[in-house]
Every structure is written in C-alpha cells, then in structure tokens.
C-alpha cells in the first residue's frame, strides 16, 4: 500500500504542476535585467563594483596605452592586443589602445581589475555573436561605443510559482 500511495502522490504532484507558472525566459523577446551598468573596478580601494561582466567599454579619454590589461590577459586568454589608433592624446603618446578578441575572451574581468586609470569597464551587453571570426574582434573604436541594452525581465515570485515577469 505504501507503493500505491507513493504512486498516487507522485501523480498528484504532477497534475498539480500543470497549473504552476512557467519558468522559461523567452529569450529574444525578454531579456534578463542585471544589476548596475556592468562590472567596474575602483583601483583606489582595490574592490570592484558589482555588475554584469559583458562586453567591455573603453574610454578613449582615459586610456594611457599602458598595456596592463594586455598583460593581465596574457595569463588568462590572450584576448587583448594593443593596436595603434590614429588619435592624438596627451596621455597616450604611443597611441595604442586595447583591441579585444571576443572569440578568446573568457569575461573574467581581470583586465578591468588591472586598469588603474578608470579606462576599461564592462557593460551589460552580451549579444556578441557574429558570422565570422573577424567580426568578434572589437577595435578600440567599437569598444568605445556604449551599448544600447533593453533588459527588463526579472524573476517574480508569487503564490502560483516563479516566472520571469
């Protein structure tokens, strides 16, 4: 009889769940909301600021071409290369800036930790797919653009179960 009651309990649980809210995030229509604007780092305290580790954003006005991010990446993914830009900056005499290959990047954010000049942060943008490998290489000018993201779905919990808003 224990067997029968167990089977009935299981069937009952299964039927009950037909009325529970669905938990699937319908991705292209809905996008998950993240905390903050992306992972940032404060070199004065040595502590980061919570945020999503997505595609980087590079502030050309702050980048000094010091290569610290490339060195940090050397041990991790070798995704960052320093390239020449044809811009004139007083603090960037060599005019080199990071170029990131997202085919290699592992989004660990150590390059952000390495940057002492508040020049390299990460953003909430994660839709980076491309048809070619070259399309995954982001030049400094592409990295400079602030991504436009529309993310609003959040997990909402109520009596009928959880769902993405």
């Amino acid at each position: 009889m224990g067997t029968a009651s167990g089977i009935i309990k299981a069937l009952n649980s299964g039927i009950k769940h037909l009325a529970v809210k669905r938990f699937t995030l319908r991705y292209p229509e809905q996008k998950l909301k993240f905390v903050g604007d992306g992972y940032q780092y404060d070199p004065t305290t040595g502590v980061g600021i919570a945020g999503y580790k997505g595609r980087h954003i590079l502030f050309h006005d702050k980048c000094t071409g010091c290569q610290l991010c490339a060195i940090a990446c050397e041990g991790v993914a070798e995704a960052i290369a320093m390239v020449k830009v044809n811009e004139n900056w007083k603090h960037n005499k060599k005019a080199i800036m990071p170029q990131i290959d997202y085919g290699k990047c592992v989004f660990c954010g150590l390059c952000v930790d390495a940057c002492p000049f508040y020049a390299l942060y990460m953003t909430n943008d994660y839709e980076l797919s491309s048809f070619t490998k070259e399309g995954l290489i982001y030049t400094p000018s592409q990295l400079q653009v602030k991504p436009h993201v529309q993310q609003d779905a959040e997990i909402q919990i109520d009596d009928r179960g959880a769902s993405h808003g």
Binding site: A10, G14, H17, V20, R22, F23, T24, S129, G161
Partner: protein, 432 residues
C-alpha cells in the same frame, strides 16, 4: 538565429524537387493512366438510371450539388474510405499526431517550460509538420554490416501492424474497418507481431546496443502479454462475446470499469509496458543502452517507427475505451434533428437554411465519435502523464511486476467476474 548548412544551395534543392515531380508525372502518364484504363476495362461498372457510371459520369455528377452529397456519402461507406480515412489510417494518424503535440505541450507544462513555441505561430502547432519535413530530408544511414532487407522492411512492418491493430477498434456504431466475431483474439494475434518485428530489426542492425534493446523489448512485451490477455478475460466472461462492437453495446447501462477496476488497472499497466511508455521504456533506456532498438534507425525510418508507435498508442487507448469505458456510449450531445430537417433544410420565413454537411454523417455516428474521442483523449492523458512523473524501472523489477503482481491481480479479476456472474449480480438473470 539559425544558419542554413553551408553546402546548401536553394537551386539544387528546387532542382531535386522538380526532378522528382517530373519523374512522377512521367511515370503516371506512362504507367498510371494505362493501368486505370485496364482497371476500368475489367471492373463491372454499375448502371444507374439507365447510364453506365463511368468515372467521367461520376465526375460530372460530382459538380452537381444535389448529387454530390449522396455520392460522397456512398463513397464514405466503401472499404477504401474506411481504411484510408475515417475509422482507419487517416483518423488514427491524425489522432496520433495530436497525441504527439499534446504530449509535448503537456509535458512542457508539467515541467514548467514552454515546449514547441515558434513553429506555426500558435503555440508551435506546426512543430510536428516541420519535424516530419526535417526527418524526410535527413540522410538514411544503414550500418555497413546490417541485414539490409529486414532493416528496411522493419519500420514499414511496424507501421502496418499498428495500422492493422487500429482497424479493429470500433469508433461509432457500425463505424469500424473490420467487424470481426473474434475481434479480441485478433487483437492478441496482432499484438504478438510487435516483439517479432522489434527483435528482427534489432538483430538486423548488427550492433550491440540495438541488440540488447531488442532483447529487452522482447522480454518486456512477452512478459506483459499474459497479464494483458488475462485481464480482459473478465469482460469476456461477463459479456460472452469476443466482438468488440458487441462488447461496447453491452455497456449501455454500466461501464465495465465499475465492476472490474482491478482488470482495468492491470490492463492499463500492461498497456503501458506494451507501448514502451515511460515507467517501462527500458528498450529505449537512453542512459544505459543509447536508444535501444532504435539506435541505428535514422531519418524517415525512425519517423516511421515513431508513427507506428503512436498509432499503437491510439489503438490501445481505443481498446481500453471500448472494453472498460463504454466505447461510443454517452448522452446524446448532438441534438437529434427530425429527418426532414436533415434532408430538406430549415425554412424560416423567406430564408431556407440547408445543412449540406450533416447528411454525410448520421447523428449516431457523430455523437458516438465525439464521445469516443473524448474518452480516448482522457485515457491518452493518463498514458502520457507517467512520462512526467515516474523514472524508468529496471528490467528484473519489470519482469517481477509482470509475472508476480499483474498475473496474480488478473486472476483476482477473473474470480471477481466469476463471482459477479454466479452471484447473479450480472449476466442473464442479473441487472443487465
């Protein structure tokens, strides 16, 4: 975003399609039309109202609205229509397709996900069609050392046997493909073919996993055949007939599930095992033996096996309804029209409303079909539900359940039936 395969050229695809169409047309003109002519030469064409009913005449009559309805109605009573469309293959396949869709959506709902969603705009209703097209364009790979004739024929035989099973199920009064005196025995005879097909196809693949899966399937099917057969004996004892239509008619007042719940439960469990549905899907246990006896099937062959298994599912559910749930019996939902409304239409003032569709069917048949489908859907729901709820059982436990529990319970069921009969509750002197 999906990407089409790099080697795909639309031009080649269209060219292949056109080629096929061309050859089909050529074959039809060269072989089909002469064949029809020869056939027409040999068939005795009936004489109606002084004219020979040639196909051309039949087509001419078809265009006339008054005559088309009786013609279609007459066509619907032919064997061909019964086999191909209504209570036969087409109906079964349609229900099977519905079952596949419902299974996916229901399982998704149970598992808190969405299921097929994008194909066909409305909740992925065309997913099955797209899957069919996908299977159709998949390459069929046959293992090099396989026994090719058996390997090719096995899926076809599987579908054919399942269809033969479908043909025995009465859907509505006098709406059955084959109305056989020993219908129930014929069901057992047909069920007996499935293990053979399974074992032969698994043997012919010449691969280890199909072989183990086939032998497991064999053990499972034959072990549950005996409880399946014995659990139905109670119904036969109480009705004294083996004809499925007569069994349905005997349930006009009470359904047999009210008197023989034990038999119904045993039959249901044995049915799950015969169908290889989830608690008993050992032959396809993917975590042990990759896909069991289906491992080497690819492309459309796999699709055919799936079609056969879902036809079988429909047939078993229908059998359960016929034997235990009163078949087509049910309160008259469709309001019984007077005969003249059906034939002549309703006249309300200046407007005369014709009901052209209704004369094709009788009201009993529509009502019976409706109830049958409703009950079958309910049974199918309970066949599908365990898939979301139970894990897979092990082969020795399965055999233990089959040989110890279910056979014992089915004998209990037989003695319940005997007791009911001899106590005078049921039977000739009883309440029925």
């Amino acid at each position: 975003m999906s990407v089409i395969a790099p080697k795909f050229r639309l031009g080649y695809f269209i060219k292949a399609l056109l080629d096929n169409i061309f050859w089909a047309v050529v074959l039809l003109t060269l072989a089909g039309i002469p064949a029809i002519m020869i056939l027409l030469f040999y068939i005795d064409l009936p004489i109606i109202d002084g004219q020979i009913l040639t196909p051309f005449l039949a087509f001419t009559w078809m265009t006339h609205p008054e005559m088309s309805v009786p013609l279609v109605k007459a066509f619907m009573q032919t064997d061909f229509f019964r086999i191909a469309a209504f209570p036969g293959f087409g109906f079964g396949a349609l229900l099977a397709a519905g079952v596949i869709f419902v299974e996916r959506k229901m399982l998704a709902k149970l598992q808190l996900r969405v299921g097929p969603f994008y194909c066909g705009k409305v909740e992925g209703i065309l997913q099955l069609m797209s899957d069919g097209i996908k299977l159709l364009t998949k390459e069929i790979i046959i293992p090099a050392k396989a026994d090719k004739p058996i390997f090719w024929v096995a899926p076809l035989l599987f579908v054919g046997t399942a269809a033969a099973f479908v043909s025995l199920i009465p859907v509505a009064p006098k709406t059955v493909v084959a109305d056989i005196d020993v219908g129930l025995l014929a069901v057992f005879a047909i069920i007996g073919f499935f293990p053979i097909i399974t074992v032969l196809s698994s043997w012919s693949a010449n691969s280890k996993y199909p072989f183990i899966g086939g032998i497991r399937a064999l053990h499972q099917m034959i072990s549950f055949e005996i409880p399946l057969i014995l659990s139905l004996l109670g119904v036969v004892i109480l009705t004294g007939t083996l004809n499925l239509s007569e069994i349905v008619e005997s349930q006009a007042t009470y359904w047999w599930i009210a008197f023989l719940p034990v038999g119904a439960i045993v039959f249901f469990i044995a049915m799950l095992a015969e169908l290889e549905r989830i608690p008993f899907d050992l032959p396809e246990a993917e975590s042990e033996i990759v896909a069991g006896w289906l491992t080497e099937f690819s492309g459309m062959m796999y699709g055919l096996v799936q079609l056969g298994s879902y036809l079988k599912l429909y047939a078993f559910a229908g059998l359960f309804v016929v034997l235990f749930l009163g078949g087509w019996q049910g309160p008259m939902v469709w309001p019984p029209f007077p005969e003249e409304i059906v034939t002549e239409g309703i006249t309300m003032g200046p407007v005369t409303a014709q009901i052209p569709g209704l004369p094709l069917f009788s009201q009993e048949m529509l009502n019976g079909t409706l109830w049958f489908i409703l009950k079958t859907a309910a049974v199918i729901f309970f066949i599908l539900l365990p898939r979301g709820v139970f894990p897979r059982i092990r082969i020795d436990l399965l055999l233990h359940v089959g040989w110890y529990r279910l056979i014992g319970l089915s004998f209990v069921n037989i003695f319940i039936a005997l007791g009911l009969l001899y106590a005078g509750v049921l039977g000739p002197e009883g309440i029925l």
